[in-house]
Amino acid sequence: MANETKKPALYLAEYDTPNAIAQAAMKVRDAGYKNWDCHTPYAMHGMDEAMGLKPTRIGVLSFIFGMLGVATAVFMMQYTNAFDFNLLNIGAGYPLIVGGKPPGAFPSMVPIMFELGILLCGFATLFGLLGIIKLPMFNHPIFASDRFEAATDDKYFISIEAGDQKFDLDRTRALLEATNPTYIELVEEEVL
């Protein structure tokens, strides 16, 4: 750790009221920043519009994987229980007669289709969500700021990350200052 240096990670601006942060968020949104966030002690209605967030597309992922689960269930049951053809020489299916029903009777497959559809849908939703919100993440430079602890109490914060394409030490600071925060801080992270 001898040649330990620091580089800017993000700007943190602190506000006292929900109104102030909503106004500020609209300005940051209009300035075209993408990689930024708002931190409030509670969920604020209307913040999505103020931040210009688009509706999540996780539903599309869930739907595709749910249908994939249904298709997998149909294929596996039809292949193993209904026909005796040999796919890719990995072994032939074996038509089964259960309870006097014809092999591959559709109604008896529905519970499995349902279960596998739900399972893959749930996996896609959970892991897709974790991917989108970048979890697990063991640390974030924002926690280097002592004042940020108040985000869970009574203060409202906007953070603009250095990774944003428009991020510029002077211009971003000027933008944030124009939104009348009570405090601005440049949070740095250690470079190993």
Partner: protein, 459 residues
């Protein structure tokens, strides 16, 4: 908005809604004439039950939706609650229309329940001693018959491929004397519950429960319009749980008594739940449709807006899936077991042209709304939502039709069926649309109205 008074949000002089009740009235008259002129006495019983029960499910769904909102102390639905309450308050209309039906069955003028009525009437007359002899007599046969019955059914199944569908149909409906005796024995055992006196008494009881609950909740809500007193909300909330228990019991047993007993020997414990699921779907579709119309005419301002329609349609989507789940469960368990006494009910809904209607229900009541109402975009596009609600409502009517009419024979939509539905539904909606003109269109006195007004869907 904060000081909304009793005079706000009324139909007033709106060109369409002022006279909206005339339309269902016209339909009722046309439908009544149609039913009386075209139906024979036998068909009229089934047709009337179909119309009556379809209309009753609207009212029952509304009662459920109001009660469950108070049970959960929810605020999302407050602004659209008045529409639901007005439909709920039609309970006495349903009761009035049900009285001739109940009287007809009691006096032997309507013959749709003859299967168990004749047995229970016979049981009442017979002496107790001879009755028990009779039963034990059959029990002995019963053991033997059961074996032969199964063999018979298997032989049927084996030959099935060689028979034409019509021949198979005939065979399924021809019974050996032993089978008839066994059937009779089952009905005799059921006659403690399925007898005319008990049926009439219970029927009146259900109607009384629904009327009491509906009128009480409507009256309290109306009183709150005037005095804006939260104590009404508190009372309605504390009574919601026992009321829901009463409601659920009455609905389940009404479904048993009025629909399930059409096939007297058949039974299914989930039957009432299916009817309940259908009721919930239908009331949500109706509420969205009426709400959309009021919203477009500008009668409710933006107190009911796209956020509320989104919420209602989400619940409708959920109940469509729930309906499918319980309906499919019942069918699949009976299909899997393949026991003749259970399968008869479904055979009647498969043979004689009903197969098509069964498929229509699966694709129309489940697959279509499931795919076409799934995403947020589809639910928030109001013209699209309107079309889907009309469709879902139509499918609900088909659903009740599928419950009642197969008992009358092969699939054939008769003018009497449509006429009976138009008559009973028409009378009901004449009242509903008239009542909508008499009351504020949102519960202006509800303490949660403002929160409901500013409802916002984050996701």
């Amino acid at each position: 908005m904060t000081n909304a008074s009793d005079t706000d949000y009324r139909v007033g002089d709106d060109r369409i809604w002022k006279r909206a009740w005339l339309a269902p009235l016209g339909l009722a008259i046309v439908g009544g004439l149609l039913a009386i002129l075209t139906a024979d006495a036998d068909r009229l019983g089934y047709a009337y039950l179909f119309g009556l029960f379809t209309t009753a499910t609207f009212m029952l769904g509304a009662l459920f939706l109001v009660l469950v909102q108070f049970l959960t102390a929810s605020y999302w639905g407050v602004s659209s609650r008045r529409i639901v309450e007005v439909i709920m308050s039609g309970a006495p209309v349903v009761a009035l229309l049900a009285l001739p039906f109940i009287a007809g069955v009691a006096l032997g003028k309507i013959h749709i329940y003859d299967e168990w009525q004749s047995v229970s009437a016979h049981g009442e007359q017979a002496e107790p001693d001879s009755g028990s002899d009779h039963a034990s007599d059959h029990e002995e046969h019963g053991v033997l018959d059961f074996g032969s019955g199964v063999a018979h059914a298997q032989a049927d199944a084996d030959d099935h491929g060689e028979h034409s569908e019509a021949a198979a149909h005939d065979e399924a409906h021809s019974h050996t004397p032993q089978e008839v005796a066994l059937h009779h024995e089952v009905l005799e055992k059921k006659s403690g519950y399925l007898n005319t006196k008990g049926w009439v008494a219970r029927g009146l009881g259900y109607l009384l429960v629904w009327c009491l609950l509906a009128l009480a909740y409507f009256a309290w809500s109306r009183r709150q319009d005037q005095d804006h007193d939260p104590k009404h909300t508190v009372r309605m909330q504390s009574l919601a749980a026992p009321s829901l228990i009463l409601f659920a019991g009455a609905l389940t047993f009404a479904a048993f008594d009025w629909l399930m007993s059409l096939e007297a020997a058949w039974f299914s414990t989930i039957f009432g739940v299916i009817i309940f699921a259908g009721s919930a779907v239908s009331i949500l579709a109706l509420t969205i449709l009426i709400g959309l119309s009021l919203y477009k005419r500008g009668l409710v301002g933006d107190v009911i807006n796209v956020e509320h329609f989104h919420d209602l349609s989400r619940l409708m989507f959920g109940f469509v899936c729930f309906w499918t789940y319980v309906h499919f469960s019942q069918w699949m368990l009976i299909w899997y077991a393949g026991i003749p006494e259970e399968a008869t009910w479904f055979m009647k809904r498969w043979d004689g042209g009903w197969k098509f209607v069964s498929y229509l229900l699966f694709f129309g009541h489940f697959v279509a709304p499931f795919l076409l109402l799934m995403s947020r975009v589809q639910k928030r596009a109001l013209p699209w939502l309107q079309v889907m609600c009309f469709w879902v409502l139509f499918m609900h009517i088909v659903d009740i039709y599928w419950f009642v009419l197969p008992q009358a024979g092969a699939f054939q939509v008769q003018l009497a069926d449509i006429g009976a539905l138009l008559f009973i539904g028409g009378v009901f909606f004449t009242y509903v649309f008239w009542q909508l003109g008499q009351v504020p269109l949102v519960p202006v006195g509800d303490p949660r109205l403002q929160r409901s007004h500013h409802l916002h869907q984050i996701y």
